[in-house]
């Protein structure tokens, strides 16, 4: 049972890393939102498995929050938003997809190289989940850095937060209070960003951040 527990936990964590890579690979906004939904579903499955195996029922609530907020409400409203803004064009990526993926692999290698030796004293199998969670965080950051569209940057930020939740649940428990506060802060951040996006779009007719740079007076 112990072996099976860790194998399945690894599978879900690895699946989350894989979904982060698929997020990096997407270049259409609707595809991006679909993959983000899958990302959130895999996260909730992982948290659900941790809840079952650790016999910690408050984690079921965390899983439910992940599903309801991140897999249902947020993608639906994002879809709504992009339809209202009329953005149905390709996402532009800084650098080619191949180079971005190579960077992603290097980041995974980096997080493995940092976490595994540093936590040598800890539980030998749990620390691999933490390494995966760090990779998801780094990949989310990479996504935010390589994207020009503000919506995709939001999604990158969300996937980063998914990685944090994975780390927290993998390390055998996190109080529910913290989770609720994290979820609410995410929600507030999302609302604020949404409002700003609308204002930006109203003023400049675009949400492309490089265009905003031009207006600021810095030419490239």
């Amino acid at each position: 049972m112990d072996r099976l527990y860790f194998d399945v936990a690894h599978l879900f964590a690895g699946g989350l890393v894989l979904m982060s890579f698929v997020l990096l690979y997407q270049d259409r906004l609707s595809g991006l939102i679909n993959v983000f939904t899958t990302h959130a579903v895999v996260l909730s499955l992982s948290v659900g498995w941790q809840a079952y195996a650790q016999h910690a029922s408050h984690l079921y609530v965390t899983a439910a929050i992940a599903v309801i907020f991140k897999a249902l409400i947020i993608p639906l409203s994002l879809r709504n938003m992009i339809e209202r803004m009329g953005i149905h064009r390709e996402v532009e990526v800084v650098g080619s997809i191949g180079v971005t993926m190579l960077f992603g692999i290097a980041l995974v290698a980096l997080s493995l190289a940092v976490v595994l030796p540093a936590t040598a004293a800890a539980d030998p199998l749990a620390r691999e989940d933490i390494a995966f969670a760090l990779s998801v965080v780094l990949l989310g950051l990479l996504m935010m850095v390589t994207r020009r569209n503000a919506v995709s940057q939001i999604i990158g930020f969300m996937s980063l937060e998914n990685g944090l939740i994975l780390a927290a649940t993998g390390a055998k428990g996190m109080p529910l209070v913290v989770e609720i506060s994290v979820a609410f802060s995410v929600l507030i951040a999302f609302i604020v960003i949404g409002i700003f996006l609308f204002r930006i779009r109203e003023r400049f007719d675009t949400v492309d951040v490089q265009e905003l740079d031009r207006v600021r007076g810095q030419s490239r």
Binding site: F6, H10, F21, E128
Partner: protein, 317 residues
């Protein structure tokens, strides 16, 4: 007596892959048609097509060389040997140790080498298009395959497919690298067999041709050999995925010969399920632009690399 039985089992495997490969092609086509609410051609149509091609006269271009005429046999021979090395209904057959996964990849590479050369032989632009695109796909699909072989071999402890299947059967590993290898192998299989989304096996339009462009000038028995080789390749990849990732039902080495029957039935079942899944996948997605395929195959290479990296770093990943 035991030697004769072993030889018969090995020979039976070579015969089975040969006999079943047109059936697989026909079955996939039929399922695709049914899912699209068409009647579709009969399941045994590929056999009839092969016999028809055999009986036709061969027309060669005026400047076709001896390479053009002998390439179909070489392509067929290398693909058949590679397909015979993959365990289908039993592991540990008599000659299964003389080639491992790397050898199988290289044999398929040799088949592709001769096919690309044959495409360039007559000196038309279509042949060149096919060969050039096939070379580009191969330059990414082969490294992806090698990285996937690494992942699987590091998990199983050997590159021999019989050993890998036996180790999968003995203790099935639910590991991240295993999952990554499965996805990568599926992508490579689609690209190597020229299925949607990489190439459309059903059309003869220049925009969608890769494999068809290379064999444009072939006719009669030469074309029959090449079509049979393509069917064998599809069977090979499905058998490979089945014996590594879905090994249950394979007769282990040294078992009672009567157990071979169960192994054969299990294999037939796996083939039909595999064909069904392939057909389902093909109708759910559209063909991608030729210059998007390197990104697609690059993803498979990255998955293989990630899987190998995880296995280097930790014993349990």
């Amino acid at each position: 007596m035991a030697v004769i039985l072993d030889l018969a089992a090995q020979g039976a495997q070579m015969g089975i892959v040969l006999m079943l490969s047109p059936f697989l092609v026909g079955f996939t086509r039929k399922v695709k048609a049914r899912l699209l609410r068409r009647r579709g051609p009969p399941v045994l149509q590929p056999y009839r097509d092969l016999l028809r091609l055999l009986r036709k006269e061969t027309v060669l271009a005026e400047n076709a060389s001896w390479l053009f005429r002998s390439a179909p046999y070489l392509i067929f021979a290398t693909t058949w040997v590679a397909a015979s090395l993959v365990p289908t209904y039993a592991t540990g057959l008599m000659f299964s140790w003389c080639g491992d996964l790397i050898t199988i990849t290289a044999l398929l590479g040799a088949a592709r080498f001769f096919l690309a050369l044959a495409g360039m032989d007559v000196g038309t632009s279509f042949g060149g298009i096919g060969s050039s695109r096939e070379t580009m796909f191969a330059s990414l699909a082969e490294p992806a395959m090698v990285m996937i072989v690494f992942s699987v071999a590091l998990i199983a402890g050997s590159t021999q497919l019989s050993e890998i299947a036996a180790s999968s059967l003995a203790h099935y590993q639910l590991r991240v690298s295993f999952g990554l290898a499965l996805i990568g192998l599926a992508i490579v299989a689609i690209a190597e067999n020229g299925r949607i989304p990489v190439d459309n096996p059903a059309t003869h339009l220049e925009l969608t041709m890769v494999h068809e462009a290379m064999v444009l000038e072939y006719s009669g028995r030469h074309l029959a050999m090449i079509e049979l080789a393509a069917a064998l390749k599809l069977l090979l990849y499905l058998s490979m995925i089945a014996c590594i990732f879905v090994p249950w039902g394979i007769t282990p080495a040294g078992a009672d010969p009567r157990a071979f029957v169960y192994g054969a039935l299990a294999y037939l079942a796996k083939l039909t399920v595999g064909g069904f899944i392939l057909a389902l996948f093909e109708i759910s997605t559209a063909k991608m632009r030729v210059f998007r395929v390197p990104d697609f195959l690059g993803a498979a290479l990255m998955l293989g690399l990630l899987g190998t990296l995880l296995l280097f770093v930790s014993r349990s990943l």
